[in-house]
Amino acid sequence: MSKEKSKSFKTKVAVLHSLLGTHRLLVPRTLAVSIGVFSVAFAGPAQWTDHARRFTGESQNIRSQAISELRKDPQLREKLKRALGTKDHFLALDVISALRMREMLPTLMQAAGKDPSGYVYHAINSLLTPADHAMIVRVYLQRLEKGSESAASRVALIDSLARLRVKLDFDFIERLASDHDPDIRSAAVSLARSQVRKLGRKQCVRILMNAVQDAVFQVRLQAIYALSELRVPDRAAAYEACRRDLHPEVRLHCEILRTDS
C-alpha cells in the first residue's frame, strides 16, 4: 500500500471512529471498527461526550483528533461544569484531564468534596504542576484530617500524597494505619512503604511492623511484602509473627521475610 493510500485508510478509520462514538477502546481498532460498523448509520452529530469516549485505548491520532474537536467548542467549560455530578461525570473528568484545563481547578476542588468516587481527585492530580504541590499537600492533608470524605476519596488522597513524595507526620500516617476501614489501612501501608523506600524514613518501618498484626489478612500480607523489600532488623520479628499467623494464605509467604533469603 502506498503512503498516500495508507494515510487515506487511516483517515477513513479515524472518521469511522469519530462516527462510532467508541470509547475506552480496550480492544484493537480493527475489532472496534468491525463491532461498531453497524452503528455508523445511527450516529448523529458528535457531542462532547462522543469525543470524550475516544480518549482511552485509542491511538494517539484519534485521541489528538478528539481533543482538537473539543477545543473548538466555545461552550465546553460550561458543559463540563454542568456535567459534574451527573451521569456524564466521569467523561467530564476525562475531558478536563485530557485537555489539561487548569482553569477548572477551583471547580474541581469544590466538586471533589461531593464526589464519593474520589475520581475528581484523580482529575485534579492530572492538572498539577510542581508549583501547586505545596498548596495541594496542605489541602489534601486538611481533607484527610477532617475525615468526612468517602473511603474511595480518602484512598485517592492518601495515594496522591504517596506519589507527591512529601515527608508526612509520623502520627498522621499512624492514625491512617489504624483507621476502622481496611482499605484506608491498606493505603496507609502503601504510604508508609513509600516513605521508607523513597524518602528513607526508617521510623515508618514501625507502621509496617504494626500492620503485620492487622485484623484483615490482606493488610498483614501487604505489610509482610513491604518489609521483605527492606534490609531492617525488624524482619526477623515479622517473620516470627508471620509464622504464627492464623491465616494460611499469610503463612504461605513467610519465607520472603527470612533474613538469610
Binding site: V27, D88, P116, A152, A215, Q218
Partner: protein, 294 residues
Amino acid sequence: MKRRLSFIAGAAAICGAALALVIAVFSGRSSSFRFESRECKRTYEQLYQKPLAEFLVVFGYKDARPERFVGDRYERLVFIQRLLAPCVERSGACGFSRDPADADAFTKVITGPDGKPRQVRMRVIGASVGPDDQENRRDPFQKWKSHYASENFVAGLRSVEVVFYNGHSRAGGGPDFDPPLLTKGNEVDFVWYRKREPGLNRILGALEPQVETTRLLGLFSCASSKLFLQKVQERSPRLGVITSPQLIYFADALESSLSALSSILSMQCRSKFEEGLKKAETQPAAEARVSGFF
C-alpha cells in the same frame, strides 16, 4: 324462615370465601415470592437452593494506556461503598456487612424464593496494588495480588453461584489480572493476547460442561459478547452469561455490574433484569445482555 336461613348461609359462604382469600394471600406473601413466570421462579430456586449463596466479583487489572493510571482499585472501592450503603429507596446491592477478618468478604441475609432466609456471602477482589502501572510492576506484592485475583476467579467458576468479572477484554485474551504484556513501543501486545487467549482458556478450563454450582457468569468487559460468549456457552450450555455487545466505558461497566447484582438479589425476572442493565449505561445500545440464565 327459609329465606332467612339461605341469607345466613349465603353470608357465611361469602365470609368464608373472603377469609380463605385473605389467608391464601397472606400465607402466600409470607412464604413465597411472586414471579412473572415459572421459568423465572425455577431460575431463582436453583440459584438459592442452599442456605448460603456465594457470589464473587473480581476486578481485572485496569490500566489506562497511554496514561500510567490503573483504576480497578478505585472502582472496587466505589462498588464496595454501594454494597455497604443502607438500603434506602432501593434493594439488592446494598445493606451488606463487612467481614472483620477478610477485607474482600461481605454478607447479607435476603429472603429466598420460598420465603425463607438465605445468607449471601460475596467476595469483591481487586487486581492492582496501586494507581501507577510503572510502580506496580516494580512492587513484589503486585504478583501476589494478580495471582490471588486470578486463582479466586478460576476457583469461583467451579464453586460459587455467581461470578462477575469487571475488567479488560484484551482483544479476547482476557480476563486479565496482571499488568499487561507490552510491545517494544510500550503498548498492550494485543497480537499476543489474541493469539494465546490466556484468560479465556482459564475460564474454559475451569468450567464444567454440566454446571453444578455456578449459575451465572458476568463478563463486564469490552465486546465480551463477541469475544467470549459463544465459546463459554459451547463449553457450559447450562451456564447463564452476561456480556456486553459493544465497547464499554468503565463507569457503565460498574453500574451494569451493580444493577445485575441488585436484580439477582431481589430476584428480578428477565424484563426487569434487562431494564436495569439498560438504565445502568449512558451509551445507547451498549447495554449488557443476559443469555441462558432464565
